[in-house]
Symmetry: none
């Protein structure tokens, strides 16, 4: 018999195939539907809906809580998924970050102002830490921002 993980994965993908870039689900509801432990849902999401696979997850707890699955899109000339999954590793230098940001800016993936914000975020002037450590933190910040870019919904701003 096909394992539950596969069914759950397929089910979520079918939801996303209805043209939407994202779906909200309730963990308990889904678990009930598949008659499994709620943590099973978490397991599927964390093994099949990672940035590697082209997805990001957001969630909210408490009453009215939900899990939102966002399918990342590849905007022209951006290479966002490559940057997120391959180019940035565990650590990245400031210069390399700058280069990436400039390239995104030149390809009109981000505005001048956004590029400025991103450079500020990865500058890390203030912190007095070993370079290796800084580079690791910078990698995290840059990756998070690129994930946000990849998750943007078309025409969301203005």
């Amino acid at each position: 018999m096909r394992p539950l993980t596969d069914s759950i994965e397929a089910f979520i993908k079918s939801l996303l195939d209805e043209g939407q870039e994202q779906v909200d689900v309730q963990r308990n509801e889904l678990a009930q539907y598949f008659r499994c432990a709620p943590s099973q849902i978490t397991y599927v999401l964390s093994t099949r809906f990672t940035p590697d696979h082209g997805y990001v997850i957001e969630s909210r707890r408490g009453g009215g809580g939900y899990i939102r699955i966002v399918r990342l899109r590849e905007s022209p000339g951006s290479n966002l998924l490559y940057l997120i999954n391959k180019r940035i590793g565990e650590a990245i230098s400031r210069q390399d970050c700058d280069a990436i940001i400039s390239q995104l800016n030149e390809n009109d993936v981000i505005t001048d102002n956004e590029a400025g914000l991103m450079r500020a975020a990865i500058s890390g002037d203030a912190i007095n830490l070993p370079v290796a450590f800084k580079d690791a933190l910078r990698a995290g910040v840059l990756r998070a921002m690129l994930l946000q870019l990849a998750g943007r919904i078309k025409g969301e701003d203005e």
Copy 2:
């Protein structure tokens, strides 16, 4: 189902969107309208209408009592300086950051997309560090981004 908090928040904001800088509401009346406990209103106000969010609350008890919600519309410049020099200290929580970013967004200092980028930058999901340490790093990242905002020159973006 959308939690009540969100509806109440939206309702209050819609009242403020009618051009007024402030609204007076009666807590019991609002609670009746939403069929919830009066303290629910208090909860919404204290979690979504704080000074960080750009609001202040005044109230009076007793007969004819009311709750006044005032939206602060400070000049973006001075507000930024305050945030940079006073509000952010050595450390800041994620929640507080979120509130500040929302406020900048609502006051049109930053676009929706920029708000998204900033939230991503301060999220620090990936790194596994003691909370106190994270909060200190976050303060640095947020401050750097606010400085960038402060330094924006009119007409810099196309």
